[in-house]
């Protein structure tokens, strides 16, 4: 008993630097977004060694939502949401069929599909950009929503298939047959028994898929110019009101705005995300 109590103490102490290491950059993001252009240039306007603003202001948030930067940020936010939701939806549906077949049915080529998924996930994304850029320029897919959704499928399908297969393999499929013996039709058995068991896995996969698409930068800057530009690309090409004005505050305000929903998702579904990220990879 004594020994375990002592061990606990050591690990709790070790948790402090880990938490600081994680939290300081997050607080710094928030701090920058609350600094006006004048405060940014003046260390005396901040406390804790230029870390936190003495007089926090919401100026930057006004700028991106209704001010000069809103023309750039709002369409990008809309594009990001549409592209990522569409890619997630299509990817999860296709991966669901595929994972069901892999974990439930016996057929030749099963292994080939899993190996293909692995090979695709190893593929360097930038190597795809050159040919896609060329084809997209010729076919008019350049700078359109589908022009981003299609490459995002390649980005997200492998992980979706692996993760969902791992989840589906844990489902006791015999229960479906047991329900059928008890007089349920096969569709009823599937709907009442399997779907509720599979839903958490599907949902988790959807969250992880969305993260991946939301994070993409390479496709976003290569395959769009302004109409279909998503948030990460818009942030990178964001310039200030004048050539000499650094848009630091506005960029960080936009960064905070796109980070908060994701952080909330992580807070709410923490356990499931961890299960999803690790089940596919470690057992695979």
């Amino acid at each position: 008993m004594k020994q375990s109590a002592k061990g606990t103490g050591i690990w709790s102490v070790l948790a402090i630097p880990i938490m600081l290491w994680t939290a300081v950059p997050l607080l710094w993001m928030l701090s920058l977004s609350l600094k006006s252009a004048d405060m940014l240039a003046d260390p005396d306007a901040s406390v804790l060694g230029n870390f936190w603003p003495k007089d926090p202001t919401l100026e930057n948030y006004k700028l991106i939502f209704s001010g000069g930067a809103s023309d750039l940020f709002m369409p990008a936010l809309r594009n990001s949401l549409i592209v990522c939701l569409l890619a997630t939806l299509i990817s999860v549906v296709l991966a669901m069929f595929c994972a069901y077949a892999i974990s439930r049915l016996e057929f030749k080529g099963k292994k080939m599909i899993l190996v293909t998924a692995l090979a695709v996930s190893f593929f360097p994304v930038v190597a795809m950009v050159t040919p896609l850029f060329e084809i997209w320029s010729k076919t008019g897919l350049f700078d359109t929503i589908p022009g981003l959704v299609i490459p995002y499928l390649a980005l997200t399908l492998p992980l979706s298939i692996w993760t969902m297969s791992a989840f589906f393999q844990q489902i006791p499929w015999e229960m479906e047959q047991a329900a059928q013996v008890d007089g349920a039709s096969s569709w009823q058995a599937f709907r009442k028994v399997i779907i509720p068991l599979a839903a958490p896995g599907v949902f988790t996969t959807a969250i992880i898929t969305f993260f991946i698409a939301w994070n993409d930068f390479v496709f976003a800057i290569s395959l769009t110019s302004d109409r279909a530009r998503t948030v990460p690309a818009a942030l990178a090409f964001f310039t200030g009101a004048s050539q000499f004005e650094q848009p630091t505050g506005a960029i960080m305000a936009a960064a905070v705005v796109v980070t908060i929903p994701v952080v909330i998702l992580v807070l709410v579904f923490q356990r499931r995300i961890v299960a999803g990220l690790t089940s596919g990879a470690v057992k695979g």
């Binding site: 077949a101 360097p124 950009v129 492998p158 939301w214 990220l277 990879a281």
Partner: protein
Amino acid sequence: MSASTPTQERAKGAKARLSDRSRSEQRLGWKLAMPAFVVMVLVTGYPILQAVWNSFFAYRLTDPDNRHFVGLNNYLVSLTDQVFWSAMWMTILVTVITVVVELVLGFIIALTMHRIVMPRRTLRTLVLIPYSIITVVSGFTWLYAFSTGTGFVNQWIQWMPGIDASYNWFGGFWSSLFVISLSEIWKTTPFMSLLLLAGLAQVDTSMEEAAKVDGASWLQTLIKVILPSMKAAVMVALLFRTLDAFRIFDNIFIMTGGANDTSSLSMLIYRQTIDRTEIGLGSALSVILFLCVLVIAAVFVKAFKVDLAEGRG
């Protein structure tokens, strides 16, 4: 692959004569798996074939009529260019630095998350947050933190006696590399930690107890019992992170834009293709990067098979 007894029996039966049931199962299986398979092959397979094809041509997108076959010339031009080797050097350095630091740091964090009792949930949640942040955002955050004037890092360093507080972190190769690596490490260590944590959960606790009873020290238990049984998890984590780090792009694009020789291979491909529309040269570089990734994957997969065989024996 999980080979259950009914499956094996069915396989035996199939050899004699495919029953109607298994034949329809075969068809259904393919029908369901087909769409995902086709999308993966079309969206990635076609571009790589196209890239290989284009790599043999002198071809600029802005001058499509002037397209002509040049054989291996694009490869020759790329491989003899000093810029290519500096990008290769940068890519290898970033990969080795980030993966090694992430492995050590990730393991410490994973052990802490595994053993800790008190702020367990808070720690797990907090650790997951950097991983869910957009790389571009974390890139900007670290860029501004180290910037002269706006940043806090130089101010904090100044608190230590005798150190210059206006150090220009983005003025040279090594300090730029340091900040780029730091941002990459901050963002992806959680991924490493989670995979290692899953590995730790699979370690047989009775073995640990037995080692303790036999008088093994904590460090001995770690090296002799815990680490060997985590081998698979460590390999998977290393493979995914190495391949990922080798394709580094976002952080460099945001922080230095490739200044001071900090361009990675991916950055170089982007510059050739998108900025300069040199499709031929960019394609040759893409094929080279693809081959590098294949070699890294092959080395790991080979190490994997050995591991799997040992595990079964």
